[in-house]
Subunit: 321 residues, 2 copies
Amino acid sequence: MTTTIVPLGTASAIPVHGRHLSALALERKGRVWLFDCGEGTQYRFLEAGLKRSRIDGIFISHFHGDHLYGLMGLMSTMALLRREEPLTLVAPQGLRQIMAVMPGTEPDLLPFPIEFVELDEGFGHATVVAHDEFTVTARPLAHRTFAMGFRFEEHARPGHLHPDAARALGVTDYADFRRLKAGKPVTLGDGTTIAPSQVLGPERPGIAFAYVPDTRPCADGRRLARGVDLLYHEATFGEELQQRAIDTGHSTAREAATVARDAEADRLLIGHFSARYEDPTELAEEARTVFPNTEAAEELNRYVLDPREKWAALEDEHEPS
Amino acid sequence: MTTTIVPLGTASAIPVHGRHLSALALERKGRVWLFDCGEGTQYRFLEAGLKRSRIDGIFISHFHGDHLYGLMGLMSTMALLRREEPLTLVAPQGLRQIMAVMPGTEPDLLPFPIEFVELDEGFGHATVVAHDEFTVTARPLAHRTFAMGFRFEEHARPGHLHPDAARALGVTDYADFRRLKAGKPVTLGDGTTIAPSQVLGPERPGIAFAYVPDTRPCADGRRLARGVDLLYHEATFGEELQQRAIDTGHSTAREAATVARDAEADRLLIGHFSARYEDPTELAEEARTVFPNTEAAEELNRYVLDPREKWAALEDEHEPS
């Protein structure tokens, strides 16, 4: 039921201060979706207690080495572990060609099929994973090379059935309860029709998570982050280096917080810290002046997202009509 | 004066049990030469207290990912650190082309020049580095893909001058002492010629180190290891998996020891341990039945090679004639 976010690397460009290169795992029902794959990600899986064999898909935001170079080793290890399950790889156009040249990652020689979803520079937005229970969409960001961010969003579940309400309306048959629970109307023996809305609680929204890596604050970043339960946004610099953030296509902590605030996100994790910040606490403090519910992402920490908290709040507000 | 060997990764193929992928640093006079560069090597430099900026050259033994994939991140980090010094890259033919395709390692875009020494399959032996004070030679190995090993060897230094012996022969002039020390004869005022051999101790041999990675035991491995102070030889398996070693082009611990013994090496370090051995002590024990001076390479340990130990032994044996 829960979705867990595990930052595996929060360094930018160069690993220092015990921080590692960009990668973030999303775990749900025992399966893992990986956002970026900096060098060493396969080691970080071991250290996080995550299974490399459980990865269903990998999203590469852009082709800077600190987001990409761990992919080769991970592919190679999956091959050595004799993976046969298909793997989804979402990336800028060109990944397949890079892998074809790198010894050991040639897609045609790997023992598992890869479904490549390669996006061209200039795309507007795209659904890159359409799963039964969630979708992942991509939007372009504003970095100094073609880069994109992602939004993971569970489908809403139908509301809970209130059996007392149904019984009060005359429903007695087990099959009728099931139909109503599945969101379908039933007609009783006396000809009365009962609509699902009469007996169901409110639709239960799923979890939404946005991954907004290397970018200036931008409209597409805000769109990805719109109302999410958790936004991971890069915050390479503090506001004292605003100009450097502009020059390098990155965000300050304050800017990341502004995105979270404007998108009405519930919670913000910042990461991708420049090597100059030995302790990112100061960046989190800067962000909190704009968006109080901010934390500096802690590597290997598990950030648990549980939709039931939201449902409880909705149920309190709502009684079936 | 000393040369230090620092194993950075002793795992084979897949990182497990706290072991990392293949890489071994040789440090001498504050400069570093790196043998293989598995994923994560740049992190291991930090953990070993070695400076990435001090690397003069990198030797890639073969194009299996566990020996190669860390090169991309290391190149990229060197570029970010604004390296300008030239770097020597020794590898099988094709490395330049791989780097040209990988975003962030395109040789023409790096801020430092690379001297590529690319060797073709089928080469016999080659001097790949000719330094003022040492040479590095390469020879092909017997792996299941084209692979090579390396021998690092310091030039011998001239013997120590024995000033008492020179004075006894009538040498008094400072310039004559200097000529003799540099290995040149002098003629005294009375017409007598003094040969350097009359006043110099024995020539002082340098340190030799051989790096013999993924291979079956083979003649070229023994040639690389001939009389070295330290041989690093792979020992992926124990002898109970002899057939698997043959099938995969690797060595057992006993076979590695046989190479050390036949080459009359002084000391053997084994590494590249299969994931199935949680503790490589059993492999070292197997090797010691053939070659007692064997240890299982310990990551980040510093194995110091000091030529003065040999010189002391030679001086004891030798008095100038």
